[in-house]
Amino acid sequence: MNDLGAIYVIVLRELKKFVREKSRLVSSIARPLIWLFMVGGGLSRLVTARSGIAYTQFIFPGILGMTILFSAMFSSISIIWDKEFGFLKEILVAPVRRSSIIIGKALSGTAVSSIQAAIILLVAPAIGLHIGPARFALTLAICMMVSFSISSFGLLLASFYESYESFSVIMNFIIMPMFFLSGAMYPVRMLPPALKAASVLNPLTYGVDALKNSVFALQAGPMGPDFPLGTDIAVIISCSAVLVFAATAASGRKG
């Protein structure tokens, strides 16, 4: 009944805050650009281009993935603070289902990270990547799906933590490894077996791979995608479903 209203409010609030907090907006766009131009630009001297992709171009889908990973995770994990101090407490005493709060949070994470990913996508021509309208739309759609699954994952994680101290734990032991083992910086097929195994289990790998598929429209060269697009999307969608369900169940547990 009021659940749609609550979902709408949670998303709208996040968007308003996102637009109003200029520093957050700037830093969330700056981080991927720094990686793209400084790390990518630096390493492109070391890594010779194979199959026609410069290293800066190769990491572009990974940088999109990174943008989504960080912003969706931050957005979701903020639920820990909200529960303790703020706005969320308001909704917890309202006649609204717990699952609506989770859906609302997952959608708001999706919205803000997709917007950021879209901004990064517009930078593509600057590194010599020309993405046509159809590919642009496909890439954006994939970004949304990936955003939703990462947001749901963040919410599931957040349900296990009560305090903000846990934030650095999540940052160092979950977010960073997820990023480095996602194929964002190096192709998964070139990794040593142990890391490769970890990458294959990392849901973000499929997100980044789907983005590679859609950004490069590429023949399977050594720097190209590791999996077919269909596999990627199937994994992303099933992960999202499982994660959002688990996050809802976990949040209901505490009442």
Partner: protein, 326 residues
């Protein structure tokens, strides 16, 4: 009138040693102001959390507006509004947006939402600031805005957890004036916690809570009457010694912050005995009608101190500031 809140044998244990709420029972009548008076850590917020369905009790039962807080939490949530001890406003949104968002959550939208928000803002005297960001508001304005928000969906019961904590006397008076109008003008039952004694005086009924237990209940006047007369306040050079001497003379004196207190039904007949016992050791002596602080002192041997609460709040404030910087 009927009871809108019924609490029976409510207990909340956070651990074996920490019993925050210990087997309390009370009723709150419809359209009245009920006050929960107690020092820091007495269990006031814990009780509110249980009544608001945010926390499950260890045992016991709470019923709000005919619905069991544990069995039908969603029905309870429909009937209540709450102003939390720590502010839960969105500082990056305007006053109006805070209310509009609240309305949405309760299924109030469009022109109905606008009207109600305007009405609520007028009620607390903030209508002229409706489009200002909340972060530019003073503490008192924020508190009043929270009351407005808590009222916007027209709850039957409004919970106020220390509504005036940390406010200056002027803002407290403003807010207080708004709160006391609620039962009559809006048919709202107010359940509030406080450790300001002057506020407790205005409640229709009070429960005095200490260490999780209700140690006294009734109308403020009844509680004061129960103290058994007036209070003689006495100052001497050595209060401990004087108390011992009075005890020998069969007079029971309690130590306070700055002297001794003796309760007496007929002070004029006790005074001579006091003067006779202590003779010229008496520095000053006066008779007062009892206050709620005297009630608390008599029941617990301690005074209620509001100051300490600030500490916990300032820590939370620091955490928020840190978050903002992040």
């Amino acid at each position: 009138m009927a009871a809108i809140i019924k609490v029976e044998g409510l207990t909340k244990k956070f651990s074996d040693r920490l019993v925050a709420v210990d087997n309390i029972s009370f009723d709150v009548e419809q359209e009245s102001i009920f006050g929960f008076l107690g020092p820091n850590g007495a269990g006031k917020t814990t009780t509110i959390n249980i009544l608001c369905t945010l926390m499950a009790p260890t045992s016991g039962r709470a019923v709000v507006d005919g619905h069991d807080c544990q069995k039908a939490p969603r029905m309870v949530r429909k009937s209540i509004g709450i102003v939390f001890q720590d502010t839960t406003l969105d500082k990056d949104l305007t006053a109006y947006e805070n209310l509009a968002f609240h309305g949405y959550i309760y299924g109030i939208r469009g022109s109905e939402a606008r009207n109600r928000a305007d009405e609520a803002l007028r009620f607390v005297g903030l209508h002229d600031r409706k489009n200002d960001l909340v972060k530019r508001f003073s503490g008192g304005m924020k508190r009043r805005l929270e009351v407005a928000r808590g009222l916007m969906h027209r709850p039957k019961v409004l919970f106020l957890d220390e509504p005036t904590l940390g406010l200056d006397p002027q803002s407290r008076a403003n807010l207080w004036e708004a709160i006391t109008r609620l039962p009559k003008e809006h048919g709202v039952t107010v359940f509030m916690t406080t450790h300001y004694l002057e506020e407790a005086e205005v409640c229709d009924r009070l429960a005095v809570i200490d260490h999780g237990r209700i140690i006294a209940g009734g109308a403020p006047a009844e509680l004061k009457a129960a103290i058994g007369g007036d209070v003689i306040c006495l100052k001497t050079a050595d209060n401990a010694k004087a108390a011992a001497e009075l005890k020998q003379a069969g007079i029971d004196a309690r130590a306070t912050e700055d002297g001794l207190q003796i309760t007496a039904a007929k002070p004029e007949s006790v005074m001579p005995a006091i003067i006779k016992t202590l003779a010229d050791k008496v520095l000053s002596i006066r008779v007062e009608t009892p206050t709620l602080n005297d009630v608390f002192l008599k029941l617990t041997g301690r005074e209620i101190r509001p100051e300490e609460a600030k500490n916990a709040d300032s820590i939370k404030e620091e955490v928020r500031a840190w978050r903002r910087k992040r």
